[in-house]
Subunit: 302 residues, 2 copies
């Protein structure tokens, strides 16, 4: 991991034409035998792997003055630890700064990474970091840890996300957890919410060259997976890739007419323009203006 960025380091925006014939589908063989060779990498006898990371945080324009409500950290401990927390903005209505909780959660988690009891288990890290917080508020959180065997372990509460891209294809993805639309699972200073026990805990065997993309929902609500894949294909440097993905998410987030992952999801859930607008061919569109955190990690041999 080449960059270690503390939770409070914030980046501001400156910076064949036929109907399908039922019997025509055969899994390809002939061209396959002639074209395709086996992968020679060996994920079993593993080299020591680590993550070279680039980061970008673009606060919601109306929150830019105080740096937004997302927080994150990147640590070089072991193979690498990456974490993102997204403060629940509803707390502002109670005169509580939503950034306090997410930032403290990341600060606590960052300081606990090497705790023996954590033992490379991101769910235990979520538990201990949550227990250590004193701020009022709540946040979604995702923590991923690369262990000595090249296994990336992920604990996720809410709608932050992670993708692993290998040879231009997604091989692993987290899924958002929510109670209903725009109400994600979240860790809170309140007693009656989620705990580390609600974290979805998953893992994936990592190989050299894998690209890990982590972020808050400000990324994944505004940028499609195929855009993430093509951006990765077109940029080699992780710092540059994180910047380009962040800028793309921002561009879409402020575009009223962009048919974003968020607007598609909203329509799927039954939200749309009034019927008389539908008659005129209009539909609910737009990006989701939000804090945007992007972390791009390239898996390299240590």
């Amino acid at each position: 991991m080449t960059t270690t960025v503390s939770y409070h380091q914030q980046f501001f925006l400156s910076s064949y034409g036929i109907k399908l014939q039922q019997h025509s589908h055969k899994k390809k063989l002939i061209s396959f035998i002639t074209c395709c060779s086996s992968t020679q990498s060996n994920p079993v006898v593993r080299p020591e792997l680590s993550i070279r990371a680039g980061t970008k945080l673009i606060p919601h324009p109306k929150k830019a003055g105080k740096g937004g409500e997302d927080a994150f950290f990147v640590s070089s401990y072991n193979g690498g630890v990456i974490a993102v927390a997204d403060g629940v903005s509803g707390w502002a209505e109670k005169d509580v700064d939503p950034a306090q909780f997410s930032r403290e959660l990341m600060r606590r988690a960052s300081s606990l990474v090497e705790d023996e009891e954590v033992n490379y288990d991101p769910r235990v890290l979520v538990r201990k970091a949550h227990a250590a917080t004193a701020s009022t508020g709540s946040a979604t959180v995702i923590i991923s840890m690369l262990d000595e065997n090249g296994i990336l372990k992920v604990a996720n509460v809410g709608d932050c996300g992670l993708r692993v891209i290998r040879k231009g294809q997604i091989v692993f993805s987290t899924f958002p957890q929510e109670h209903y639309f725009d109400c994600p699972y979240q860790l809170s200073s309140e007693a009656v919410t989620q705990t580390y026990l609600d974290a979805t805990v998953t893992s994936v065997d990592i190989v050299k060259g894998d690209i890990i993309v982590m972020g808050s929902d400000g990324l994944f609500d505004n940028v499609f997976d195929h855009e993430i894949i093509s951006t990765i294909a077109n940029h080699k440097d992780v710092v540059e890739t994180a910047k380009v993905l962040g800028d793309l998410a921002y561009k879409h987030s402020v575009d009223f007419y962009y048919d974003s992952p968020y607007s598609i999801e909203a329509r799927t859930r039954g939200f749309d323009v009034p019927w008389w607008k539908k008659v005129l061919g209009q539909k609910l569109t737009g990006g989701k203006m939000d804090d945007i955190t992007v972390i791009v990690g390239e898996v390299v041999c240590s």
Copy 2:
């Protein structure tokens, strides 16, 4: 696991209306505090878990006489082992029955489940089963194993798939690996193809009540994830759920006008009707007629 079905047991078909306002998106808090309670299940101190499985295999209608080219097995070993293989149909052009390889691969894997060297590692099981085959042919394959800690380990080569659904939401999914459209990664009797080293190896912490849906691409190319979720919500019995999902996949597969996951993917990859049909408002549609294997597993306390 209540049913143990050998690889050769085959089932035949008889049997608000506003444009998104950029500043209106706040992660919900107030209703959250009043509505949402924490999950009380404890996935850390785990009960012994196992899988209660229902299965359904519907061969391609033109291959029904010989049972199609999919094969699968369900084993009650440890917490449960489920595997699906899909023979690559292109071998028929070489006068090789594509079913031979997939069936032998499943037979070998089934007999090796308790092999000490496998040690609950589905990738090792893929390696040993592949090495033991003598048939000519190739197949995609997915093997999942539930271990004593409640962790479902998955090794996947190609475009079979697996979903884990928890409380009506997908928490885990595999992703298809392919060289290009309709040419998936595959294990083969030929030397220059994929090996166990190419398997994507992932895992997810399982809790009681999780539903595991596994299948060949004949399921996932014809049935959307949201249809899988709603089907699960509407059926309690896994045998019935597998049947309903299989029948739904079959219904869509033979519908020239259904806009299936397969036809959407085809259009995304640049396949479509000729321009003059597009002018008339037509587009490439249709399900994908294929062998359909569906295995639905409910995670229960042993």
